[in-house]
């Protein structure tokens, strides 16, 4: 599953991610990492059954962990099903079905934001 790890300012100096990985022995696949001196936000992939353990490890160190259920939101009124989003998505979230409807496989999304800039109709935005 895709998870979002937020690291608040007061903990940004601590090696939270490394410590949690070493402690639990769980590998997480970091797909997006935006970290600077004030704040950190990461999107990572972790297997479903290891989620609780890594969440506890991270949260005991001050991080906030949430599951990305709907990482991307499509406004179906605005969308004209052109498919502009398809080729810019590194995770192949978007595909056409037989009838040329755009299909969205939300679970694959890593919130990189490429499709949001691409969409000519402003139909896409990051979800929670």
């Amino acid at each position: 599953m895709k998870i979002k790890i937020s690291i608040p300012t007061e903990r940004i100096q601590n090696p939270i991610i490394s410590e949690s990985i070493i402690e639990t022995g769980i590998s997480i696949n970091i797909m997006v990492a935006n970290i600077d001196s004030t704040y950190g936000e990461l999107i990572a992939d972790v297997s479903d059954f290891q989620f609780d353990k890594i969440k506890n490890a991270l949260e005991s160190r001050g991080a906030i962990v949430s599951i990305l259920d709907r990482p991307i939101h499509r406004d179906e009124e605005e969308c004209v099903e052109c498919g502009a989003c398809i080729s810019v998505c590194p995770m192949n979230v978007y595909t056409f079905d037989e009838a040329w409807n755009v299909q969205v496989e939300e679970k694959k999304c890593i919130q990189c934001g490429m499709c949001i800039k691409m969409c000519p109709h402003g139909a896409l935005k990051l979800g929670e």
């Binding site: 004209v80 099903e81 502009a84 080729s87 810019v88 009838a99 490429m114 800039k117 000519p120």
Partner: protein, 500 residues
Amino acid sequence: MVKKSIHEINRKIEDGSVNVVTAEEMVTIVKDLGVEGAAKEVDVVTTGTFGAMCSSGLMLNLGHSEPPIKIQKVWFNNVEAYSGVAAVDAYLGAAQISDTRGIQYGGAHVIEDLLRGKEINVHATSYGTDCYPRKVLETTITLEDLNEAVLLNPRNAYQKYAAATNSSKRILNTYMGELLPNFGNVTYSGAGVLSPLSNDPNYETIGMGTRIFIGGAQGYVIGNGTQHSPSSGFGTLMLKGNLKEMSPDYLRAASFTGYGTTLYMGIGIPIPILNERLAAATAVRDEDITTNILDYAVGSRDKPIIRQVNYAELKSGMVQIEGKNVPTSSLSSFKYARKIANELKQWIKQGEFFISMPVERLPGEGLAKPMKQTQAVPLVKDVMSDFIVTIKKDQTIQEAAKKIWENSFNHLAVVSETGELVGILTAWDISKAVAENSFDSVESVMTKKVLTCSPNEPVDIAARRLDRYGVSAMPVIDTQNRVLGIITSDNISKLFARRY
């Protein structure tokens, strides 16, 4: 020989016996029945397209104010319209952007907002005359309040359009969408099998006066579009339709990041099957319509052709470029194109839409010309140094140093046995090698990924590239990768020194 007339077809529309199919359905019908059989069987083929058509706009009339104003400048929701036509007429272009909100909102958005019944702020100024004394006007209007609101689109429904890709190392934001670096994607536009002009490539039935589906209303072709280029297969149409009769299902404002606003128009054109020739033409398939993939990394009018491609390949979702599978994105909506072709088919079947013959044919020959520019832009070949010192990659650093010193030339082009460029070596590279005490061959210290330019590129584009990548010179190469010269920041400064 099948020969039908528009009157016969319209009588069939009236009595409900007309046989209408979409251009997609026509492909299999012609395959099954043959051209003659299909021409007998089918009366009308409907086409459809739904995509970004920047060259669109609204001609409107506001009615006279009290006291009256001869509008000199006018804004709708802070988007300026052209008002140099009488007193209260204005033309609002789809691609005009907002003075306050930039490319997020433009003429296209005002048009869609009007269509959705929203109130629009109007601000106008004038110099005042005896007959039109008012100098400033502030009001709000809705679509209903306008006397006329007619879409007059100078260039719509391109026969086909070139696809886009990007060979450079950075993301490009274009009117063809986001183009990813290193041929990361290909974007395209056009409905292929359903494209109106591709189904009547000789413009036999589509011409001035042809009744069409436009934005969900009935409108007309009023002539060839601007930049109509039939000899290259890129015909265009100038269209008109009443905004008051349109539907937001088929007219949508859009904004391309880093480019600006545009209007997605839904256009459908019926093609009466008067003879076998038209039956054969409307059987055109995606694979029969070819276009080029152009490299948008070159910011010049004539973009290099990467390869030829057909719409079947583009619509498959993947095309091959240099042996690599590259994903494609459509910017126009095939689902909506299909919806339009089907809706038009229903209109005709239900006797709500009658076919018309053009009162005048569109030009079937000719090419769009490039702009005449009186101030010629100097090209790279005009300012580059023809003299360039070359060296082979297996020569020594010492030989390289000697060449630089003897020629007092800062850049050495490293070439292969056959004269192709393989790297570049600067005095700085040599100093570094000396400092690190590594005296291997030229190959070990040269820069292998060399920024280059072609002799026919405008100098300002080469200058922008030098600046962006922070280098002081670029070898100029021909298409075979052979070195012709070098352009340095010195060459460019001299160009300006000469001019001023």
